[in-house]
Amino acid sequence: MKHLLLSIFLILIGLSNIGAAQADESKLPIDNFKSLPILHDGRIKPLDTFARSELVHFSGKHSFEGQDASVWLARTIFDPATASEDKIFKVDNSDVRHLMGLEERKKPLYAFTELTAGLQKTFPTVEQLMGEPKQNLSTEQTALLTLHESALEYTQLLRSMSLLLPLNVDLPSDYDDHKDTTTYLDLKKHAIEIEDRIRTIIDKKGNDPEKYSPAEQRVAILGLQIRTIESAAQGNNLLRVIPSPLESGDYLAPWDLVGSGQATWESVPQIALWEKLADSWRDGKAKDWHDALSELHDLNKTDTKPEILYNKISPFQNALIFYALSFLFALASMTFHGKKGLTILSALTAIIALSLQTGGLAARIIILERPPVGTLYESILFVGTVAPLFALLMELKLKNILGLLSAAFMGMMVGLLAMSMADEGDNMKVLTAVLNTQFWLTTHVLCISIGYGWCLVTSVIAHLILLAQATNRITQEGVKKLLHSQSTLALTALLFTATGTILGGIWADQSWGRFWGWDPKENGALLIVLWLVWIIHGKIAGQFTNLQVTMGYAFLSVIVGTAWIGVNLLGVGLHSYGFTEGLFWGLGIFTIIEVGLISALALTINKRSVA
C-alpha cells in the first residue's frame, strides 16, 4: 500500500512537471538562469516566475513547445532574431485575426514576425481606441488593444539586452577595438567622436549622403545606427535584473541603468557578465554560461530558491489531482459499503493534498513575508485549504466517509475556482498600502476566510443530507446525527464570520476613519452573518422544519459565493477587483444550479415523506 501511494504521488508530481524535465534537453543547463533575481510588479522574484507569467500572458501556456518558459525567455532576450519566429501570440478572437490579416490555424498561435504587418495596419484604430473608456469597448476592440499592448511588451523583451548583443555594423578602422564583436556599448564610447565627425561632414558637404566619400558614408550610417538603437530602446525597463548601485533593493533594466545615469563602477561587472551570458547562450558555450551565472549569483546574493521550488512543485495544482483521487476513492468506498482499504486510500490522498496545500501556503508566507490572504485569489487558496481540513476533522468525529467526500469535493471545486482565477501565472501580488498592515491582515482576513471555510463545509454537509434523504440512503438516526453536526458547523461558521466582520470594521475604522461604510464587501460579510443568524434563530424558535433549515444551510454556498466573489464584480467599493465576464457567468450558472438542485432535492424528500 505504502509503495502504491508513493508511486501514485511520484507519477503525478512528475506529470505536472513534464515541461521542466524537457527544458533540461536544451543546449545549456537552465536551472541557474531560472533562479536569477528580477524586480517585477513591485517584488523581487526568480526569472523562472517572470518567464512563466510573461509566456502565459502571451500564449496562455506555461511552456513553449515543450520547452521551459525560462529557455524561451533566454532565447527571447539573447537571440531576439530567432525568438521573433516563435509562435507565442495567442489570437483567440476571429475578428481580430481577420483585421490583422492572419491566416486561420487549428491553434491560433502566431509569431511576432507574422503580426508586424497587422500591427502596423491596425495601429491607427488602436490609437483611437486608447482614448475611449474601457467599458465602452466591444470584445473585439478590447482584444485588439490587448494584442497591441502584448506586442509592445514583447518588443521590450526582445530589445532588453540589445545594448549587449553583437551588432551587424561596418566599423571604420579608427573605432575598431579589435574585439570579436561590437555591441552598442562599444559604439557608445565613440558616439561623441562619431557625432563630431558627422557634424564636420555636414558642414563641409551638406545633408546629401551621395556627396559623401565611402568612408564618410560609413561614419554617417554608424551614427544613424546608434541613434536608431537608442530610440528603439526608449523606456525599456521591463527586464529589471541589475541591482541598482545607488538604491539598495532596487533593480534596473540594462537600458535604464545606462540611460538613467544610475550606473557606477559596480555596474561594470554586472553588464560584462550579462554580455558573457548572451554570448555563451548564442554560441552554446556551457562553461562560459555556467561561470557567468555563478558569478552573477555571487554578486546578487538574493535567494530565490523557495519560489523556484514552489514553481516546480506547483502545490495547489497537484493538490487538485490528489483531491480528485480522494473523491473517487471515497465514492468507490461508499459504493462498496465502506470498504476499509478504499477509505484509507481516500483519507491518505486527501492528507497528501492537504499537506501540499499547507506547504504551498507556508511557501507563500516565506516568499511574500506576509499572511497568504492579501488578494481574492489568495483567499481562495486559503479557503481551499481550510475547508477540506475542517471536513477531515469532521470525518474524524463522524467516521462515515461523508467528511472525506466533502473534503475531496471542496478541495476540487475551490481548487478549480483558484485555477480559473490564477491570472498570468504569477499571482503573488504586492499589496496596496492599506491592505499591507500585517496585524489586521492576519486577524481580520484570516478570521473571515476561516469563516468562509466553515460555511462551505456546512453547505456541503447540508447538500449530502438532502441527497441522502432524497435517495433514501440514510436512516432516521443517521439524519439526526448529521443534523446535529450541521448545527455545530453552522455555529462555528457564525462565530468566525461574525468575529471577522467586526474585526474588519475595526480595521476600516483605523484605516479609513469609519467603522462601517456600506461597502459591497462589508455588506456581503454582513449578509452571511444575517443569513446564518436567520436560519439558526428560525430553527431555535421552531419556525423552520429540519428540511427548511438544511435547505438554508445548503444555500449558504451561494451566499458565500456572492459575498466572497460576487461583490467584487460590481465594480464599486474598496474591495472591487473589476468586472470579469467569465466569473459573472460562472457565479450566475452556479446560483441557478444550486437553486434547481436544492429545490429538486427538497421536493423529492417532501414527496417521499407525504407518500
Binding site: 557608445k188 564610447k189 561623441i192 567622436e193 563630431d196 548601485p245 545607488l246 539598495s248 533593493g249 541603468l257 545606462v258 540611460g259 538613467s260 545615469g261 544610475q262 550606473a263 557606477t264 563602477w265 559596480e266 555596474s267 561594470v268 553588464i271 513575508e369 506576509r370 499572511p371 476533522l393 500585517q438 496585524f439 491582515l441 492576519t442 486577524t443 484570516l446 478570521c447 476561516i450 455545530t488 462555528t492
Partner: protein, 186 residues
C-alpha cells in the same frame, strides 16, 4: 470538551501567527535595515589623470579631502551651465578638490571653451584645488564609471567612498549641497 480544545487551539494558533507577522516587520527592524543599507558606502575605484597643465593626479592621493568628480564635455549644454557654478563652489571651499573630467575628443575644444569663460571663472580656475583633464577614449568615464549621460558628478568623502552621485545639473549653491559638504568635513 474535545471541540472546545480544538477551538482554543485554533485561536491560539491565530494569535501566534498574528504576533509573529506583527513582529517580523516592526518599524525598528525596518529602520535597522535602512541604516545598514546607507552605511554600506562604496569605495570609488582609483584612477590617474593628466591635467591640461600636464600634472598627474591620482584619486587615492586625495584621501583626506572631499573630492567632486565632474564628468562633462564642452558640447553638453547642462555641463556648460554648471561649469562656472562648480568652479565658484570649489573656490569657496578650498578644502575640497574639484576634478573636471572632459569627454571631449580633443584638447583644443576644451581650451577654446575655457577662453570663453568670464574673468571671474578664469580666476577661480587658477585655484590649486581645481583640476581639468581630458578623458582620452573615455576610458575613465565610460569603461570605469559607466557614465554615458552627461553631466554626472560624484561627491567622494575623505575615505574615498561615494557620498552622493548627481545626475544632470543641480543647484550647486543650494542648501542641500552646502549641508552635504559641511557633513563631509567631519
Amino acid at each position: 470538551m474535545k471541540n472546545a480544545a480544538i477551538l482554543i487551539a485554533f485561536i491560539l494558533l491565530g494569535a501566534g501567527l498574528t504576533i509573529w507577522f506583527d513582529q517580523a516587520n516592526t518599524p525598528d527592524r525596518i529602520i535597522e535595515k535602512e541604516i545598514k543599507a546607507e552605511t554600506q558606502m562604496q569605495t570609488v575605484p582609483d584612477f590617474t589623470i593628466t591635467t591640461l597643465d600636464q600634472k598627474t593626479l591620482t584619486l587615492s592621493d586625495l584621501k583626506g579631502r572631499t573630492v567632486i568628480l565632474n564628468f562633462w564635455a564642452t558640447w553638453c549644454a547642462p555641463c556648460v551651465v554648471e561649469f562656472p557654478k562648480l568652479a565658484a563652489l570649489a573656490h569657496a571651499n578650498p578644502d575640497i578638490t574639484l576634478i573636471f573630467l572632459s569627454s571631449d575628443t580633443n584638447t583644443d575644444a576644451i581650451e577654446k571653451f575655457l577662453e570663453k569663460q568670464s574673468e571671474e571663472t578664469k580666476k577661480f580656475l587658477k585655484d590649486t584645488n581645481i583640476a581639468i583633464a581630458r578623458d582620452e577614449k573615455r576610458k575613465i568615464t565610460a569603461d570605469l564609471f559607466m557614465t554615458y549621460k552627461l553631466p554626472e558628478t560624484l561627491i567622494i568623502n575623505k575615505r574615498g567612498e561615494l557620498a552622493q552621485k548627481i545626475v544632470g545639473d543641480t543647484d550647486w549653491q543650494g542648501e542641500e549641497i552646502k549641508t552635504l559638504l559641511e557633513d563631509l568635513k567631519d
